[in-house]
């Protein structure tokens, strides 16, 4: 319990008022939730720090509306192992926020996940594009409700650095490399890479690959229907290697980048006045959370442009956290319904660092233009979005520190010339991991 259950008498009074007023009078509510007085609902998620705090606010509202008592269970990464221990211990949480498509599939395969109920399905149909619904479905059955989306095709830059170098936001990879060169010539290292957390590296690869090889190949590679030794992979790695291998382009060099954790990679781009450690940093919208811990302001000191098009089009790689019910309880279903509604999304959207896949969420809810732009792009991409590939892969390949793709790409960062070797390592690891799953 995180002291969430602060819903004493007051809250209930409010509830009663609402109920008395009937449906029409509810001010902001767009969704009807059942009454769950005193019922306990537990939610597991890996969120910590600022993210957890905001999510607790989202849950607070649910408590207020239903009278349920919600407890947040901080889970450990990888969440699927965490849940395994919970299920084994006989105490699975009612709902888990699963950060990967693969995790949903595993939860279904293990028979932990329960399909969404009618109410939640109604909300999904109303508020979600087919692409997002499909990501939460396994074998045609809907299990997941994507509550939080991540647009992972963004490059953030320090506006002062761009001004000093006299460069504009690039649109294609060629322009991007030229921009980087000019930034370098101006005396600032162009890119910050948070290589200590290898998921940033898999995201680099995926964006290049999706844009260069196209969505079809992307899907095939994600399902390991083509091998990692495929020429398309070679091309993408070569492109990435051009950037990683260029002397002076990566802050701290490869060894420095490998020690830089994601928040640090962001912070070093937006601190240090006109001499930051780097001018640009790549990653999804959550970058703004880390910027918030510096003196820089999103929208003025920090801006963002879409990942440059390597091939014909800019990529739209997304991620997201889906709520999945692990118990057949009324509370769990009500929570899914709530999370699929614009009401829940609005709370977090206002707090920032959040993009909702919910197309009925008013864009006004976002706190600034940058965030609004990111969300807008995501909704507009519609069904063309592609989910983070490493998140679709078996955990052993795409999501375990020191193993599989994570390890291979960290080694690649160290030695960006080794394209063929990296491909082979990736393929070996993939063959092993996909066979098992």
């Amino acid at each position: 319990m995180l002291g969430l259950s602060a819903c004493g008498g007051d809250d209930k009074d409010k509830d009663d008022g609402d109920k008395a007023g009937g449906g029409g009078k509810e001010s902001a509510a767009t969704v009807r939730l059942p009454e769950l007085d005193g019922e306990k609902v537990s939610v597991a998620a890996v969120w910590g720090g600022a993210e957890r705090k905001v999510f607790l606010q989202v849950l607070d509202e649910f408590e207020k509306r239903t009278g349920a008592e919600v407890s947040f269970v901080p889970a450990q990464d990888p969440i699927i192992s965490f849940l395994e221990s919970k299920v084994a211990g006989g105490q699975p949480p009612d709902v888990a926020m699963l950060p990967q498509v693969g995790a949903i599939e595993q939860a279904v395969a293990n028979k932990w996940a329960k399909p969404v109920g009618a109410e939640a399905q109604k909300q999904l149909d109303k508020n979600y594009a087919q692409g997002w619904k499909d990501l939460g479905a396994v074998d045609g059955k809907q299990y997941g409700v994507y509550f939080k989306a991540a647009n992972k095709s963004l490059i953030w830059y320090n506006t002062e650095v761009f001004e000093n170098a006299g460069v504009q936001e690039p649109e294609t990879w060629k322009e991007f490399m030229k921009t980087a060169q000019t930034v370098y010539d101006s005396g600032v290292t162009p890119m910050s890479v948070g290589g200590a957390e290898a998921w940033t590296l898999t995201d680099w690869f995926e964006n290049i690959y999706l844009s260069q090889a196209g969505p079809e190949k992307y899907d095939q590679l994600a399902q390991h229907k083509i091998k990692w030794t495929d020429p398309s992979v070679k091309a993408a790695l070569t492109t990435l290697g051009d950037l990683f291998g260029k002397k002076g382009f990566i802050a701290g060099g490869a060894s420095g980048a490998l020690q830089t954790e994601f928040p640090a990679s962001v912070k070093q781009t937006f601190t240090g006045g006109d001499q930051p450690k780097a001018g640009m940093v790549f990653e999804g919208d959550m970058v703004s959370l880390a910027i918030a811990e510096t003196k820089a302001k999103v929208g003025t000191d920090a801006k963002v442009f879409p990942f440059p098009a390597v091939g014909d089009e800019s990529p739209a790689v997304v991620g997201g956290d889906a709520a999945v019910a692990l118990k057949d309880s009324k509370g769990a279903q009500a929570l899914l319904t709530y999370l699929a509604s614009p009401d829940a999304a609005e709370i977090w959207a206002k707090a920032g660092g959040f993009v909702s896949p919910n197309k009925n969420l008013d864009l006004k809810a976002y706190p600034n233009d940058v965030q609004r732009g990111i969300a807008d792009a995501l909704i507009k991409a519609g069904d063309d979005i592609r989910f983070d590939m490493s998140d679709q892969a078996p955990q052993a390949f795409g999501g375990t520190p020191g193993k599989g793709e994570w390890k291979a790409l960290q080694d690649f960062l160290k030695n960006p010339k080794n394209v063929a070797g990296t491909q082979q390592t990736l393929e070996d690891a993939a063959a092993k991991a996909y066979k098992k799953s």
Partner: protein, 460 residues
Amino acid sequence: MTTPDAGGTAAVPPAQSTPHTSKSGPHRAGPRKSVTGTRRTIAALFLLPALVLLGALVLYPIGYSVGRSFFDKAGDFSGFDNYETMFSDDGIRTAVKNNAIWLVAAPALTTALGLIFAVLTERVRWGTAFKLIIFMPMVISMLAAGIIFRLVYESDPDRGVANALWVGVHDTFAESSGFPQGHPGARSPLKGAGGGAFITKDPVRAGEPVVLPLTGVPPGQMPDDAESAKPAKADPGKVTGTAWQDFTRGKGRGKVNAPDTAEFGYPGIKIEAVKGGKVVASTKAAADGTFSLPKEAVGAQLRYPASNFREPYNGVDWLGPSLITPAIIGSYIWMWAGFAMVLIAAGLASVPRELLEAARVDGANEWQVFRRVTVPLLAPVLAVVVVTLMINVLKIFDLVFVIPPGSSKDESNVLAVQLYNSAFGDRDAGVASAIAVLLFLLVIPVMLFNMRRMRREGRR
């Protein structure tokens, strides 16, 4: 104190039990008999809670782990497979290797430091204050120590104190150069000459001013006396030219390969004229970037030697894959040197003064006294300290769990962390049990030693 030191400290009883055993008071004589003529049931009642807990939570798990280690992840019998995995799986092998490093290095270094501190503080009046400072880290959690050392080892010398000190020391001996990151821009008349130097593509001629444009020196690191760059005047019989930063803030390169007024010269940058691989003349540029070389330079290629561009020294990657284990051991020593010091100091206090005095009278100098008398007398205490630390190090967990960043986690792996990961990450109870059994086997000698000593004391 920090970690389960039940084992460790108990192995150390000298300090605690010395008072008891050394002094055989009158009441010590004769076997202790029940003063009360207790009934056995009462004895059993007194013992029951302890025995139940020990049996269920300590003894039974040992048996369970031994048994479980012969079954695979799914629970099928697999013989010694798990033990084989332990020595064939890369991750676990690293853990075994690192544990060996820990076992050898950490107790030895900690004890050595403890000994030095104990001996040195013995004669200093405020030795107690010093001891307190050294001892304090032992009282805090390993997690807090881990957080402390994450900050200490931060690689950026502007933020991590270890690197700040290191770089400070380094820079007093090796000055960094004035033009780090300088490099030729696109379409430059310069090319790389290997080793970080740049050289003109073509030989230079007299009377034709040369341009040596570079880019990329961070504005904040340009020499303060830099002035706006000027084209050099032609001077027949000499080689003249300009060395400058061909980049204007906010504007880019302006006119490429020509000094614009908004661009700055490179005062003091070194320029060499090279003919047939030999330096025939050299000079330094003025504040506006202009320079001139004597006629020997005619027909030579001009070169910026690499010394101009030496990167500022950024210190050591403490938390990088190659140094991670020594770095964590460093934090461990910080925590535990106090423990060793205190025990050794207690031992030192009980070394008979007369013996030292006698040695001195025999003409031994202080070092000889230390080496020949003190250390041998301390040997039992030192042994106890080392063994205690070894047991402690064997199961080192928190520091290794907390300190390394993701990219060094592999390289820093140790058995206790691996066990945790196998058991609660991979959910492979078989391998986890095998590791547990290995850890247990490693402490058995100490266990037997403790029991033997206890029996001997009992007999006394």
